[in-house]
Symmetry: C2
Subunit: 246 residues, 2 copies
């Protein structure tokens, strides 16, 4: 195991995996990586990813903008740190839980919570995850299928399926509520009603008419999420039964 993960890789990775050299001498730090990352996450949570700038972050921390660069190689690096820290630890379950469906459901629901608390995560994900925080979630999801007869490739496929679904659902929810310029809840429906010409978009017009985009009469938005997730896991169940017979 080399001391460095890679020379051309983001500096952040070497720090995240605990391969930063301990430093003894020198001025006592007033800033720390943890404080910076926590402040950046709070700023992004409160005012959105667009409002996160090095200058505003420094202002919030009471330091000069350039001071941040002593702890972070650049803005990209900072975002890697944020992506690692924000989700927190994944739900706990053993290596091969008896109830794969319950475990995976819990994983998905908690991940949805993470994305709703930190909507910027979805916008930020661009490279394959290589930090301990995200890999821990990935590992937990793979473990939830530990008791099934699926092979590793199929398990990974299932996990990606659920992951994509959760991300999409989170994006839908956050973009619908924080839509362009304080658009009210029903405004999207009203707009679609006007735009969905039945001649041009027959199915869409019928769907709007049926109230698909209106907020549910009863039952919260979580029920929609659970319903879609159940569809998805039904498919996984089919695959598991098929694998069990083979």
């Amino acid at each position: 195991m080399p001391d460095d993960i890679g020379d051309e890789l983001p500096h952040a990775l070497n720090v995240l995996w605990g391969r930063a050299k301990p430093k003894g001498r020198g001025r006592t730090p007033a800033l720390s990586l943890e404080r910076i990352v926590a402040a950046a996450i709070a700023l992004a949570d409160e005012e959105g990813l667009a409002a996160l700038s090095m200058a505003r972050l420094a202002e919030r921390l009471g330091c000069a903008p350039m001071s941040l660069y002593r702890h972070v190689a650049g803005k990209d690096d900072l975002q890697l740190f944020m992506l690692d820290a924000a989700p927190g630890p994944p739900p706990e379950f053993g290596t091969a839980p008896a109830d794969w469906r319950g475990s995976l459901t819990r994983w998905a629901v908690e991940l949805l919570g993470v994305y709703l608390r930190h909507p910027w995560i979805v916008q930020l994900v661009s490279a394959p995850p290589m930090d301990p925080g995200q890999l821990a979630w990935l590992d937990a999801a793979l473990r939830s299928l530990g008791g099934t007869p699926l092979d590793w490739r199929a398990r990974f496929s299932v996990v990606m399926l659920v992951l994509h679904y959760v991300r999409g659902a989170a994006q839908l929810r956050t973009s619908a509520t924080a839509a362009p310029e304080e658009m009210a809840d029903g405004a999207y429906t009203a707009l679609l009603t006007e735009l969905a010409d039945p001649g041009r978009f027959p199915a869409l017009a019928r769907a709007v008419e049926a109230g698909v985009f209106a907020p549910h009469p009863e039952a919260g938005p979580d029920d929609d999420f659970r319903a879609g997730l159940d569809h998805l896991l039904d498919g996984v169940g089919v695959a598991i039964e098929r694998a069990a017979r083979a």
Copy 2:
């Protein structure tokens, strides 16, 4: 039907839905909205979304940066136009195709193609779609389920499920190939092999060991996509059978 869709809404929408006033007199335009949007799409395709700036776009079009603002209200507006134009028309099928699974599969595969040709689309989607281009795709997907006994809410849920899956798969593929600094195909696997400590990430370590992240020995990456899609559609099939019995 009012002349304007909304006063606080992006200018782009009023243009997209053909409610811009025709202009007769005046200087003959050297620029046009179509040329601008086409150039912007080409620029984003070739150099990525980050390279798309008004200045670089103007340079490519041989005009001054500020000239663009005669045709586009701002960069956000331009991106709305790009989102509308880039996907092109969705696949054609009737209002209630006999083979929902085939139709929806075709829709998903073609949409994946769109996302792979224009990777920036996935990064750009933030608000619910309100332009004709995206609504046409949505309508097509809803039509693919026209022959099933699902109600409109369930159809919409299924379409979102497939949409999220396609987006996620596209993001995975594009971010894996164009990863940080020309990372080779196998580099991610190598890195994971090193980082996935079996004590800390037991399932992940086993998955890496099993070669899940290695490129397939035979069969292209499309087979992975089709396999995941099949899982997903199995779940939809279960829902359809259930609805048929009710």
